[in-house]
């Protein structure tokens, strides 16, 4: 009997099991070699930063006047020492803690705040939209670097102030993308159908809007992380971010720049870290974008 059924309805048997959206995204992302390599590099950076105290590294704060600016490959200091004789490897790994934190957290904050603002503006429309989006437009009048420097400069140096200023810098672009995506979804019939079933605005947003707008906003936000990394390092380089003697890649680049004629390779190391990290974040974001593109 079952056999007859199967013959009568071959389609029924062959019908693919409904698959979750995210399992498909992960499967496609796993097939992308470049994105996977970048993911591994970033995972290594984050893991080494998190577990730095347990890696058996030298003290990143303890200098030595006699062991200053040792070249790369010196015994005991594989990546040499900086201008105060502190171990470069330890400082680079410990530096990753601050740099990655200041480089990623503003995007995370901006993602939540910007999405909330953009979804509200896009869904409600009318006057609410005009007010939110015009305020956002004001921020676009300034280049992001200038804005970050201006806000940081006004607030003063320090980690918290860097986080605040970078978050402010990244809220407007996220809001704009969120608003655009939400307005598009808002005009679709399934939102009207949901409203016609008597659901309130918050229910419609929670059930029908967020799931359909979050992934493009998320992909856009990941593309901002590399810019944010560079801006965070830039603020420290200019002396309005992290203060010495904290290890931070941007700040290290600044303090080592005097040594560029003595040992250019050594002086370039923090820059290499910034470059590699932001490149990997960018490529990973690209991979994510294509993995999330379901249709065709």
């Amino acid at each position: 009997m079952a056999q007859v059924e199967a013959e009568l309805h071959p389609q029924a048997e062959a019908a693919p099991k409904p698959q979750g959206y995210w399992s498909g995204v992960i499967r496609r992302l796993a097939g992308d070699k470049v994105a996977m390599a970048c993911l591994i590099v970033i995972a290594l950076l984050i893991l080494s930063a998190v577990f730095a105290p347990w890696l058996g590294l030298a003290d990143p704060y303890r200098g030595s006047m006699i062991a200053r600016l040792k070249p790369i490959g010196t015994e005991g200091h594989i990546l040499g020492t900086d201008e105060q004789g502190r171990d470069m490897l330890a400082r680079l790994i410990y530096g990753g803690r601050l740099t990655l934190f200041i480089g990623l957290m503003p995007v995370v904050f901006a993602f939540f705040i910007g999405s909330a603002l953009g979804i509200a503006a896009g869904y409600v429309g009318g006057m609410t939209n005009t007010i939110i989006m015009r305020v956002v437009d004001v921020f676009f009048a300034f280049p992001s670097v200038l804005l970050a420097i201006a806000i940081s400069g006004a607030l003063g140096a320090g980690i918290t102030n860097s986080l605040v200023s970078l978050t402010i810098v990244f809220i407007p672009p996220v809001t704009r993308v969120a608003e655009a995506v939400t307005s598009g979804v808002r005009s679709l019939d399934y939102i009207d159908a949901a409203r016609a079933s008597g659901a309130g605005a918050l229910t419609v947003i929670r059930v029908h809007v967020i799931g359909n707008v979050l992934s493009p906003i998320f992909v856009y936000a990941t593309s901002l992380t590399s810019v944010c990394m560079i801006l965070a390092a830039g603020l420290s380089f200019l002396g309005i971010g992290v203060r010495p003697p904290e290890p931070e890649w941007g700040l290290m680049l600044n303090t080592l720049r005097a040594a560029i004629y003595v040992d250019p390779w050594l002086a370039a190391l923090p820059g290499v870290m910034i470059f590699a990290t932001s490149l990997c974040l960018n490529l990973l974001s690209d991979g994510l974008r294509s993995a999330m593109n379901v249709r065709d």
Binding site: P18, Y21, D189, A193, A194, R195, A196, S197, G198, A199
Partner: protein, 343 residues
């Protein structure tokens, strides 16, 4: 037309709509000042009896879909009354309650389903929102009723279904709240002919089974004729003619209705229209013509049509056939009025 003298049937109406009005402002300039007004729906009144199907026809842009959206409050009306089962929207009936009793099926079967939601969840959503018991069970029963095996299709996503299947899902979704009235806004227009026929038959069956009342909006006159009991013709945001389907088919009274019907392709090659149908586009609803809005394209237009706005009135004493045209009003002053009007 006074509120008491409406195009009505002998039975008490289930849904009655009075002087529905929606003007969309067009804003422009730096300060967003109102520049003009699109009179999308301007004083539309009609009544629908329980179990009846009212077909609404008209050119694109005549306000059919806006009327539909006004009925379930998706677009906020500027003026007018909606009375459902004797309860007036606003004082007696909340919008949420109205939306349980009036449901809508949209034209675009794909856009009207959330792409990230399974079919069963989409069907159950409304019942869940309205706090009806066992939404999932309802969804399964209704999916089975519209011809989709809930075990096979329930867990699928909209893009895995064909257009006809998706429209069945949309119908099931509309029925999940046990509505009294279902507004079908071009619900079968996007389907191919064979699927369209199946869905139409399904709709006719569901109407019997659940005692539904339909408001069926379409540009396809044959489809409207098949499913409707009465037909309402709209032109530029106004009702120009309402009549039972046989009356309007045999003796269309308004010149616009006549040209609309004569534009229909005939199945009989000997019976093809040789006269050209209406020429030109409908006038701009931002600045509609004075008097009768149809006078700019009407072959029978006379001087009075430019000045005086015709009101919807019965063709004859006690007739269920209503028309808004000076030709059928002997007192209008139209030179051809008397000879045109039937006794």
């Amino acid at each position: 037309m006074s509120a008491t003298d409406m195009p009505t049937r002998t039975k008490a109406p289930l849904l009655s709509v009075r002087e529905l009005k929606k003007h969309f402002p067009i804003r422009g300039g730096i300060l967003g000042r109102q520049q003009a007004v699109v009179q999308a729906v301007d004083g539309v009144s009609f009544e629908v009896a329980a179990g009846e199907t009212l077909g609404i026809v008209g050119e694109s842009g005549c306000g059919k879909s806006t009327t539909a959206k006004l009925l379930i409050g998706l677009t906020q009306m500027d003026d007018g009354d909606i009375v459902l089962d004797g309860q007036r929207l606003g004082p007696d009936l909340s919008l949420k309650a109205l939306r349980r009793d009036i449901q809508m099926v949209f034209q675009d079967s794909y856009a009207s389903l959330n792409p990230r939601m399974t079919i069963a969840d989409s069907v159950a959503f409304g019942a869940r929102v309205q706090g009806l018991d066992d939404p999932q069970g309802r969804a399964h029963r209704l999916m089975a009723r519209v011809g989709l095996d809930p075990d096979r299709f329930g867990g699928r996503y909209p893009h895995e279904l064909s257009g006809g299947q998706r429209q069945r899902v949309n119908i099931a979704r509309a029925l999940a709240m046990s509505p009294k009235v279902v507004v079908l806004d071009e619900a079968v227009s996007a389907l191919d002919k064979s699927v369209e026929a199946q869905v139409l038959n399904l709709l006719a069956d569901l109407r019997e089974e659940f005692g539904l009342t339909y408001i069926f909006i379409s540009h396809d006159l044959n489809v409207v004729r098949y499913i409707s009991d009465r037909i309402l013709v709209m032109y530029l945001g106004e009702v120009v003619e309402v009549a039972p389907v046989d009356n309007i088919w045999e003796t269309p009274a308004h010149p616009y209705t006549r040209s609309l019907f004569s534009a229909m392709p005939s199945m009989d090659p000997d019976n093809r229209t040789t006269k050209p149908p209406l020429s030109g586009d409908p006038p701009n609803p931002i600045d509609p013509p004075s008097g009768c809005r149809f006078h700019t394209r009407c072959p029978m237009a006379s001087e009075v049509c430019k000045r005086k706005h015709p009101v919807l009135g019965r063709m004859a004493q006690g007739s269920p056939h209503w028309v808004a045209c000076h030709l059928h009003d002997p007192a209008s002053g139209h030179p051809k009025a008397v000879e045109e009007a039937p006794a």
